[in-house]
């Protein structure tokens, strides 16, 4: 068995998403020795989960915020009962416990004197009409109360999927509404893999860059172009990338693509041999920054990128026309936008662009369902927009040989027609030897087979329509005969 990777366990100092009983997710930086408060669900000690494998749920079970691995009970089938809601009236007094009683229970729970399940049971017992509820309603009641009083939490490992889910729920506009299904389709279309070289314009706060970097696993290069003072790749920090992966992400400001004529290298500005102390430090700082920009420029100008991915607030075609020359042939070009309408003009622009092949505008539809034995159905509320993708393939346009002149073409067609005629005559002669009645049918079949064979040979570009044409023609011919 291979040894565990550092990424397979929860490490101190990393970002962790904590899923709470309410299904809300909290994002924390796990500091060794600290206590993490989950509000009404209690507090746990970071050290209790640091060093353990991801994937388990934990229960806070006593007053010292002790935790233990929580094993959920299996979800059981709801047994159908004769109950129905005929007897149920909307009556706040059904719950015999008062608000103060419940508050007291809650504080006991927080102190660790009562477990979440015990509280839920107490609520259930003091509910006057609980037994009259339908089995489905009872299950729903327990589930609802459980979300309030259980003290189980699950640390979730940040991955492109979980990070996207977290931000899509919490603040979709931050990541420009890109939803996990659209993002995953973008990854597929981009054909991102270990070792490739990508050109990216990412205004989704680095959501796309993060997902791409994850799929490259520390091999290859991502060059991100940005405007403004800094690239805003905030999402990257949530991904717990190792240095190797972080090093694959390079950035370059649009304004620095071309070195201004008056820009001087640090060596031109100062003579390094004359510098001491703070001046020398400054020189090295400048040199480092200069080298980073130079390196990014070099990467850009070398071109041959394996994909161009644009998710910008600016007009996409204005970006594409600048960056397309740097993309290698037969590579995907992808534009993401939160609204489909913003991509319509780009789509027509792409269709006119000789360097792009087969633009395709897609939207994704995603629906989640509740899956409980005997209670499976789509969830009552679903996601609206998830963004739109416009994909095409970069091609190398080159002038193709001019078509034949009309005379040449007619001559060639005549020659072909004669050859066909000869062939058919030969076959008819062959089929005439069989009984006369099925002659027409046989001829028709022969024709179809004949045409079909030619169709295969030809590998036609309009397979469906021509096939249809062939068939009807041969039937007509059969009728004439």
């Amino acid at each position: 068995m291979a040894a565990l990777n550092p990424t397979d366990i929860i490490n101190a100092g990393e970002h962790v998403f904590i899923k709470m009983p309410s299904d809300n997710v909290k994002c924390i930086v796990l500091k060794a020795g600290s206590s993490v408060s989950l509000g009404k669900f209690g507090t746990f000690k970071a050290n209790d989960i640091i060093g353990h494998a991801w994937g388990n749920s934990y229960e806070i079970y006593d007053r010292d915020s002790k935790t233990r691995v929580y094993h959920p009970e299996g979800i059981s089938e709801v047994e159908e009962t004769a109950n129905n809601n005929r007897e149920i009236v909307d009556d706040p007094t059904s719950q015999k416990l008062t608000l103060d009683d419940i508050k007291a229970l809650k504080s006991e729970g927080l102190k660790g004197e009562l477990t979440g399940e015990e509280i839920v049971n107490k609520l259930k017992e003091s509910h006057a009409t609980f037994d009259k509820k339908t089995a489905y309603s009872q299950a729903k009641y327990l589930q609802k109360k459980g979300k309030k009083f259980h003290k189980v939490f699950t640390p979730i490992k940040p991955t492109a999927y979980s990070v996207n889910e977290y931000f899509y729920v919490k603040n979709p506009s931050k990541i420009r509404d890109i939803r996990m299904d659209t993002l995953s389709q973008l990854l597929s279309y981009s054909n991102v893999h270990s070792g490739c070289k990508l050109l990216v314009v990412d205004d989704t706060q680095g959501m796309i860059v993060s997902a791409l970097a994850e799929r490259m696993g520390g091999k290859g290069t991502i060059l991100g172009l940005y405007d403004g003072d800094n690239p805003h790749y905030d999402i990257v920090k949530y991904m717990n990338f190792n240095q190797e992966t972080l090093d694959t992400i390079k950035v370059l400001s649009w304004l620095r693509i071309h070195r201004p004529a008056d820009e001087k290298t640090p060596d031109e500005m100062q003579d390094v041999t004359q510098l001491t102390g703070k001046d020398l430090e400054g020189y090295h700082r400048r040199l480092k920054a200069y080298n980073i920009v130079e390196e990014s420029r070099k990467i850009l100008f070398e071109g041959n990128f394996d994909a161009l991915i644009v998710a910008s607030q600016y007009q996409p075609e204005s970006i594409l026309e600048k960056l397309l020359p740097y993309v290698a042939g037969s590579r995907p070009v992808i534009v993401y936008h939160g609204t489909k309408e913003a991509l319509l003009e780009t789509s027509t622009w792409m269709r006119r662009c000789p360097d792009l092949l087969a633009p395709q505008l897609t939207e994704s539809w995603l629906r989640k369902s509740q899956v409980l034995p005997g209670r499976t159905h789509p969830e009552m509320s679903t996601w609206g927009t998830g963004g739109s993708l416009l994909t095409a393939t970069k091609v190398i346009d080159q002038p193709v040989q001019a078509a034949l002149t009309k005379r040449e073409r007619l001559a060639m067609e005549k020659k072909n027609a004669e050859a066909k005629k000869l062939k058919r005559a030969r076959e008819e002669a062959e089929s005439a030897t069989s009984s006369p009645a099925p002659v027409a049918a046989a001829a028709a079949v022969g024709d179809i087979a004949d045409e079909a064979v030619e169709g295969v040979e030809e590998g036609t570009t309009t397979a469906t329509t021509t096939d249809g044409g062939h068939e009807s023609r041969s039937i007509k011919r059969a009728k004439q005969e």
Binding site: G51, Y161, L357, T393
Partner: protein
């Protein structure tokens, strides 16, 4: 086959140049893609002419190539798993990009992951998985149909994936996967996935979190699988459906009613069937009278009203000016709050109606009349490490000890 063509589907060629023995996808149209292997002495023929393989050698992938007759051209594309999904010969129902993408993301696939797939089917998903987990990961794929195994094995070899994929002919529902403590992710596309759940559990790496996905078209299958997953202790069971809508972008030409009427007037005039002058004059007079009455009655009418009227008038003046210049600039349409008045129906005599007015272009999208409504339900669940693990250091020490034995 030279080494240069190895792993063709899993990674790009460094020089991106077509060489003898390489795979090339011929793009004839969106619906017509063909995968060929370059052999110097061969040619590809279609109704638009012939394309010599020798002519393709030395070109960059992505190049447009004309046929010998000059009547057609095609594009030489680099083979990718996504293109393969569109080309491959269907031996079974295959997975398409919507499902493939979501599953790969949910299962957290990336370089180095070990994955189990069953059944292999036509190998559509296998190609995408292999590309994503390359170069250090591995895919174990199982298929109980002997012939499909044979074809898929050949395809994986031809496509340079043999080092990344292990295929086995095996009925995993009856005999299990035969793998223990190996996988990071499991994908089940089987008629009865619930029969393979217990074996899948053993196949997972026992010391870390793992993800499973089952793919079933029917809700009854999902129901049985959910029961099996819960019994085996899988958690966080979620179900999704995902579809892609392919929009057709079109340019729609739209004229305003005024433009249409103007053109109609022009053609009427041509046919000398225009409204007799007497009638037109009387219509105009009557309107004028009404207008005077209106303004007499409603002097305190809110300003918007009069403003609206003036815009209408101005509009018409503008329109006239433009048409006199022979410009086809579309006439302005009154703002919604400018109250319509019978005034607008009076044709302007002073201006010759235009016979043709260029309509405006509106870019719109259209969905195909028929589109995919359902593929399958995607059921996801999480495998949790069986117990709390000792520290990483201890584990690594144990692993080192066991390997030294």
């Amino acid at each position: 086959m030279s080494l240069a063509t190895k792993h063709t589907f899993a990674t790009y060629k460094k020089n991106n140049t077509i060489e003898n023995g390489d795979l090339v996808v011929l793009f004839l149209s969106k619906e017509n893609l063909i995968l060929i292997r370059i052999q110097e002495d061969q040619e590809f023929c279609c109704k638009f002419g012939n394309y010599k393989h020798a002519d393709m050698i030395g070109l960059q992938y992505g190049t447009k190539l004309g046929s010998n007759t000059g009547r057609g051209f095609l594009f030489l594309l680099y083979p990718t798993p996504e293109l393969w999904t569109l080309i491959l010969p269907h031996r079974t129902q295959i997975l398409y990009i919507a499902d493939i993408s979501l599953i790969m993301s949910y299962l957290d696939l990336k370089p180095g992951k070990v994955m189990i797939e069953s059944g292999t089917g036509s190998g559509s998903f296998s190609h995408s998985i292999a590309r994503t987990i390359a170069p250090t990961g591995h895919l174990y794929t199982f298929e109980y149909h002997q012939e499909r195994v044979a074809v898929a094995t050949k395809e994986f070899e031809d496509h340079g994936l043999e080092g990344l994929v292990t295929i086995e002919c095996r009925d995993v529902c009856k005999n299990g996967f035969g793998l223990v403590n190996k996988a990071d992710a499991v994908f089940l596309d089987l008629p009865a996935p619930w029969e393979a759940v217990a074996s899948a559990k053993q196949a997972f790496r026992q010391d870390k979190v793992g993800k499973i996905c089952t793919f079933s078209p029917c809700i009854e299958q999902i129901s049985k699988t959910v029961t099996a997953l819960t019994e085996q202790g899988f958690v966080d069971i979620q179900m999704y459906e995902c579809l892609i809508r392919f929009n057709e972008v079109r340019i729609l030409q739209i004229s305003t009613l005024d433009e249409a009427l103007e053109m109609e007037r022009a053609s009427e005039k041509k046919r000398k069937r225009a409204m007799p002058r007497v009638l037109r004059e009387s219509f105009k007079n009557r309107l004028q009278q009404e207008q005077e009455q209106d303004s007499g009655n409603n002097t305190d009418q809110d300003q918007e009203d009069t403003e609206g009227e003036s815009t209408v008038k101005k509009t018409r003046v503008n329109d006239g000016d433009l048409s006199q210049q022979g410009s086809s600039t579309p006439s302005t349409v009154g703002t919604p709050n400018s109250r319509s008045h019978a005034d607008v129906f009076i044709p302007d005599d002073s201006v010759e109606p235009r016979e043709y007015i260029e309509p405006r272009n509106a870019t719109v999208t259209r969905l195909p009349v028929e589109q995919r409504g359902h593929t399958s339900y995607l059921l996801f669940a999480t495998f949790t490490p069986a117990t709390q693990q000792p520290s990483l250091a201890e584990l690594n020490k144990a692993a080192a000890a066991s390997s030294s034995k």
